[in-house]
């Protein structure tokens, strides 16, 4: 008698179970073969995906590591080559600025050089540098919204040309500008050092309006610099003043 033929074979309880199991298996396979092809394909795909779980399939995508750079090292961000030189803090950087009563300006000095062959506006320049982990930075110029340390990266600086203390409105091709990224900070006591982050950009087309340009500023390099506290600018005394 062939083993595995349906049901009613003598052979004791073990034989019965095996026969039952084999019958069940055959029925299961028959059922499986009866499923439509699309369903089978979908199940196999889902199974394959599930099998990646123990191999890291469910982990978060790794954030790219921030490169550590040195002072005066040129960082290619995409539209602009940036280098950071030094950081200082003062209550009034110069004549064109108003004095801050309960806080101070943080100035990150560095150089910026456009890589474009046409004149660049200052939007990428303002997004190229950020301060990390500093408490009480003003979100933007004259926007009286002071950010906690965890959101310090959202604070957008104003950028000035060091040579003539004027606002950097554009970068022309081929010129290397000495600039200062300037934030206003509320709160007494300048930190002894700050973490300066340089952000890089991606050249792509924006889906919303088909605008093509440097988008998605994201930190790509950082360095820690000591903060030098400088006295605020004071109007020079004129002759004859009492």
């Amino acid at each position: 008698m062939p083993v595995g033929s349906s049901g009613t074979q003598a052979g004791g309880p073990g034989g019965d179970v095996r026969a039952l199991a084999q019958g069940g298996l055959r029925r299961a396979l028959a059922w499986l073969r009866g499923r439509p092809l699309k369903q089978l394909a979908a199940w196999i795909g889902a199974l394959g995906l599930a099998l990646t779980a123990p191999f890291g399939g469910l982990d978060e995508a790794a954030r790219p590591q921030l490169g550590l750079v040195k002072a005066e090292q040129v960082v290619p961000t995409g539209p602009i080559d940036v280098s950071i030189t030094r950081v200082s803090a003062t209550t009034r950087p110069g004549q064109n600025f108003s004095e801050i009563e309960d806080g101070y300006y943080l100035l990150v000095f560095g150089t910026a050089r456009s890589t474009s062959s046409t004149t660049l506006t200052n939007s990428e320049l303002r997004d190229a540098v950020r301060l990390s982990g500093v408490d009480g930075l003003e979100k933007g110029l004259m926007i009286e919204d002071y950010l906690p340390a965890a959101e310090a990266l959202k604070a957008q600086p104003m950028v000035y040309a060091v040579q003539d203390s004027t606002l950097m409105t554009s970068l022309v091709p081929e010129l290397k500008y000495e600039v200062a990224w300037i934030w206003r900070r509320q709160g007494a006591g300048a930190p002894s050092s700050v973490d300066v982050q340089v952000q890089g950009f991606t050249w792509r087309q924006r889906v919303l309006d088909d605008y093509e340009g440097w988008l998605d500023p994201a930190p790509m390099a950082h360095l820690r610099l000591p903060v030098t506290v400088k006295p605020g600018w004071v109007r020079p005394a004129t002759e004859g003043a009492s």
């Binding site: 073969r33 092809l37 062959s117 046409t118 004149t119 040309a161 040579q163 003539d164 004027t166 950097m168 409105t169 554009s170 970068l171 022309v172 091709p173 081929e174 010129l175 290397k176 500008y177 000495e178």
Partner: protein, 199 residues
């Protein structure tokens, strides 16, 4: 299993074939569209009116004449002044507006290599015109301190939209000697407010 699969394809052969042909047609269409030149860019390109220094360019907004071109490392205006590590090019302009909306708010130096240096950190005083009243004004542009072969000065009413409009194109001689001379100068270029009125 192979029979099942074969069966599935057999019944749908026609529609699958049609689908494949549609995809192929779309792909070919995309390749062709990408390769052909952009008609809009040609139609909308600004019309260029060439004029030499001292000659009038007849623009839609008026007659533009570049009288003189000078340079230095600093300019001083009424409200502000700026310095550069390159040079500032200052062009003295005579503008005779033909309509109420007129002026020069776009000025740029371009070369044959695709570089464009526009107003940016510079300035234009050619604003606040009165139609029919001649105006004497200036534009100041920041340039690197090197010879720029094939340089041209481009002047236009507005930098907002260049389509379907015209612009003045004036060839400049920015050779090594000129640029070196300007880069060595520290005398600020005076940029007063524009003057209106018959000379």
């Amino acid at each position: 299993m192979r029979g099942r699969v074969g069966e599935w394809f057999a019944g749908r052969g026609r529609s699958l074939g049609a689908g494949a042909l549609v995809l192929a047609a779309l792909a070919v269409g995309r390749v062709v569209t990408d390769r052909l030149p952009d008609a809009e860019a040609v139609i909308e390109a600004p019309v260029e009116r060439h004029a030499a220094i001292g000659e009038a360019a007849h623009l839609r907004v008026g007659e533009v004449t570049v009288r003189e071109v000078t340079g230095s490392t600093e300019w001083a205006g009424v409200i502000e002044g700026k310095r550069t590590t390159g040079v500032w090019l200052a062009a003295d302009i005579d503008l005779l507006p033909s309509r109420r909306e007129s002026g020069i708010s776009y000025a740029a130096v371009r070369d044959a290599g695709g570089h464009v240096w526009d107003l940016g950190r510079g300035t234009s005083t050619c604003k606040g015109t009165i139609a029919g009243v001649p105006m004497r004004c200036q534009v100041v542009i920041e340039l690197p301190a090197r010879a720029i072969p094939g340089a041209e000065l481009v002047l236009r009413w507005t930098d907002f939209d260049e389509r379907f409009d015209d612009q003045a194109v004036v060839p400049l001689r920015l050779d090594e000697a000129t640029m070196k001379g300007w880069a060595a100068s520290t005398t600020p270029i005076q940029v007063p407010n524009a003057t209106l009125g018959a000379p």
